[in-house]
């Protein structure tokens, strides 16, 4: 183990720290940390869901005792979202188990669902955890957020340290509010240039993962900055940070700014302290992108780093399109798809499945007018284009799920998807072929029945 350096006693000049180093130092109540330090960190928010929650609480009770109490019943957010709308008894049972734990521990934030037949009959139910965390104001700059899900890194979009952990670590946090973490070094990605109208954050992150590979950021922080980043909305920033784990990254982070504060302050009154990388901080890698030169890309089967230009895949015949998940099922993702469908004025050629991430997203899809569409909502545009009716919000078929999951890949078909992983069997069938893409690319592909560059419809 690397020897611990306690700068407060060494008398040396304080070296600059990156955002992540600063966040972790503060959470560990230290004035300085360097990459490689193993430190005990105070956790601000712990999130869990229906798949890992039972296991995490099981371990908590085993280790701290049947009558143990969680460290802080207001810092735990329990969000059933993975296997909800299914008849699988074990899946249903897991939600019941979480209800019991939340009742016993007096957990303040439990976004429960009891009526599986109609999600709208459940006022507390949200849907996909990472989107719900943001929408409910649990993501705040400068904080440490952990979740029993790899895509917890999504919250780094808010300028906080957010990463996924397993049940055992979560059980530990439940009892102590702390976790042992090794400070990661930071890779810097500077994205400059005006974002082309046909490009989305999904294209940016697929570009980057294609550049550095699925292990390119293992054990490291991916810090995104630059003029393009500053121009992105919060939802787009979330898409970017969401797939940091697909590059092996420990966490992703974006410096908070007015866009961030505006979003956060509209959803929570909890005070927060934003931090920024020092000018003299050390980064282990520097990547620069001129975004104005980038083109829509896809990740071909069977790896998120199997990057290709969408236009070079135009001969790939597809069987279906899936728009949903924490990566590509947010309000703006559906707005984008609707915008393309509207511009095209055509019908989809393949089954097109729409899975809003949360109740709020579902409502936006049905209520918000799509800019430039003469007052039409996403739902209306989707219906006119012949898409499937937007379904109940959850993680859905992004990870396959129980056999009766809506839009699950049960045959060896080719699917263009706005989701985050395409390893063999990811959406169900082992021989399914998944092309990861932006909502624009997914919508364009639905219209042609082939993998399609959105510029075909968006220029």
């Amino acid at each position: 183990m690397a020897p611990q350096r306690s700068s407060s006693t060494s008398g040396s000049v304080k070296t600059g720290m990156t955002m992540t180093e600063k966040i972790l130092a503060k959470a560990a109540e230290k004035s300085q940390v360097v990459p490689g330090d193993n430190i005990w960190v105070n956790v601000d928010v712990l999130m869990t869901h229906d798949v890992c929650g039972p296991g995490a609480f099981g371990i908590f009770k085993r280790e701290f005792g049947e009558n143990a109490k969680v460290w802080d019943s207001e810092k735990i957010v329990v969000i059933p979202d993975h296997y909800i709308f299914t008849t699988d008894k074990r899946a249903n049972r897991n939600v019941d188990i979480m209800r019991e734990h939340c009742r016993e521990q007096n957990i303040k934030y439990f976004y429960d669902i009891t009526d599986l037949g109609d999600f709208r009959a459940n006022p507390d139910y949200k849907g996909v955890c990472h989107v719900a965390l943001a929408q409910e104001g649990h993501c705040r700059p400068g904080e440490v957020l952990l979740g029993t899900d790899s895509h917890t890194c999504t919250a780094g979009a808010f300028g906080q340290f957010a990463t996924g952990i397993g049940n055992t670590d979560a059980g530990f946090v439940l009892g102590t509010g702390k976790i042992l973490l090794k400070v990661p070094p930071t890779m810097r990605f500077i994205l400059d240039g005006e974002m082309p109208s046909y490009l989305q954050a999904k294209d940016l992150i697929l570009q980057i993962i294609g550049e550095i590979s699925v292990a390119g950021a293992t054990y490291k922080t991916m810090e995104f900055s630059g003029t393009t980043i500053e121009s992105l909305t919060m939802e787009e920033r979330m898409t970017l940070c969401n797939m940091v784990v697909e590059a092996g990254g420990k966490n992703g982070v974006i410096p908070p700014d007015a866009t961030t504060f505006n979003y956060v302050e509209n959803r929570t009154s909890v005070p927060f302290q934003p931090v920024y990388s020092d000018g003299n901080a050390s980064f282990v890698a520097d990547y620069r992108f001129d975004v104005s030169k980038l083109e829509p890309v896809v990740a071909k089967p069977h790896s998120p780093d199997n990057r290709a230009l969408a236009r070079e895949c135009k001969d790939v015949k597809i069987d279906r399109v899936y728009i949903g998940s924490c990566t590509g099922g947010k309000t703006e993702d559906f707005m984008a798809a609707a915008k393309l469908f509207h511009a095209a004025g055509k019908q989809v050629k393949v089954p097109t499945f729409l899975v809003p991430a949360t109740q709020k997203v579902w409502m936006d899809v049905y209520a918000l007018p799509v800019p430039g569409a003469g007052g039409k909502t996403c739902a209306q545009i989707f219906e006119e284009a012949g898409c499937d009716t937007p379904t109940s919000p959850s993680c859905g078929a992004c990870l396959g799920g129980p056999a009766d999951t809506y839009a699950r890949l049960n045959e060896p078909q080719v699917c263009v998807s706005t989701t985050n992983r395409n390893f063999p069997g990811r959406m169900g069938h082992k021989e399914g072929q998944i092309y990861l893409a932006s909502p624009y690319t997914a919508a364009a592909s639905a219209l042609t029945g082939h993998v399609t560059d959105p510029r075909e419809f968006l220029q």
């Binding site: 371990i59 530990f172 293992t218 990811r426």
Partner: protein, 256 residues
């Protein structure tokens, strides 16, 4: 009742309650003299120093040879070889995540699903249909083993099936961390393409020692140096994150 999740590495610790007699040097900076060693300390002054060990006396060796003074951990058995980027969906398909690993009945069932997500190109099944245990003790992997989800079911199902160790060219971090935290399988980094050097069914031994670790393929007669376990070492040696935290005084000893 035996806890099905008792860390393999911690098993011995539960049998021998007097940890302080194992020659470990513990350092705490709360300055107390003979306080209850398991009383929680404030983190404000807490600066965890690595537990310095001269020998890992806490582990039961599996080899038939008597443990030498140099304290050996050994895993022996058949190899099961996989390729690069074996993600968590291949290790345990998502449809089986409804199983709760901390539930003792369901824990053993988890083993039956281990590596069932591998494509049809893998001719040998890791666990035969209808079985819950594997005949393979050592999983040999390529780069980025365990990438994908943070689901702890991944290392747990391998351990539940009876695998002892995963020797991969490199690991994805959440999987590695979960393997260490649960103690279900011992993760080791090789420096070479062991997945190309070994074949499923080869007989091998993994020997862990203080200074170096090796993978010995008895079928080919070749040996491969394995990387030191690094920062995870103290956590594994302690028997997982809870045991480590207890020894460090972060949390009280387990409730009666």
């Amino acid at each position: 009742m035996e806890n099905p999740l008792s860390s393999r590495f911690g098993e011995h610790l539960r049998v021998c309650p007097k940890l302080s007699s194992d020659g470990r040097q513990r350092r705490r900076n709360h300055g107390g003299d003979d306080d209850d060693p398991f009383a929680p300390t404030s983190t404000a002054s807490f600066n965890l120093k690595p537990l310095v060990t001269r020998s890992s006396s806490a582990f039961v060796t599996r080899s038939s040879a008597a443990a030498s003074p140099q304290e050996r951990k050994t895993f022996h058995g058949l190899c099961y070889v996989v390729g690069d980027n074996i993600d968590t969906d291949q290790i345990i398909p998502a449809e089986f995540l409804t199983v709760v690993p901390s539930n003792s009945d369901e824990y053993s069932k988890l083993g039956s699903h281990a590596l069932t997500g591998l494509p049809a190109s893998y001719k040998n099944r890791f666990v035969e249909l209808g079985e819950t245990k594997t005949r393979y003790s050592i999983v040999i992997g390529g780069e980025n083993f365990g990438c994908g989800s943070s689901r702890e079911h991944a290392p747990v199902c391998l351990g539940a099936a009876g695998a002892k160790s995963v020797v991969a060219q490199s690991f994805a971090r959440i999987f590695f961390r979960n393997a260490v935290a649960t103690g279900e399988v011992y993760p080791l980094d090789a420096e070479v393409r062991v997945c190309k050097e070994c074949r499923t069914g080869d007989v091998a031994t993994v020997e862990l020692r203080e200074e170096e670790s090796v993978l010995i393929n008895h079928t080919t007669g070749k040996e491969y140096r394995l990387n030191a376990i690094g920062d995870a070492g103290p956590v594994i040696d302690a028997g997982g994150i809870f045991a480590y935290a207890r020894k460090a005084g972060m949390i009280p000893s387990a409730a009666a």
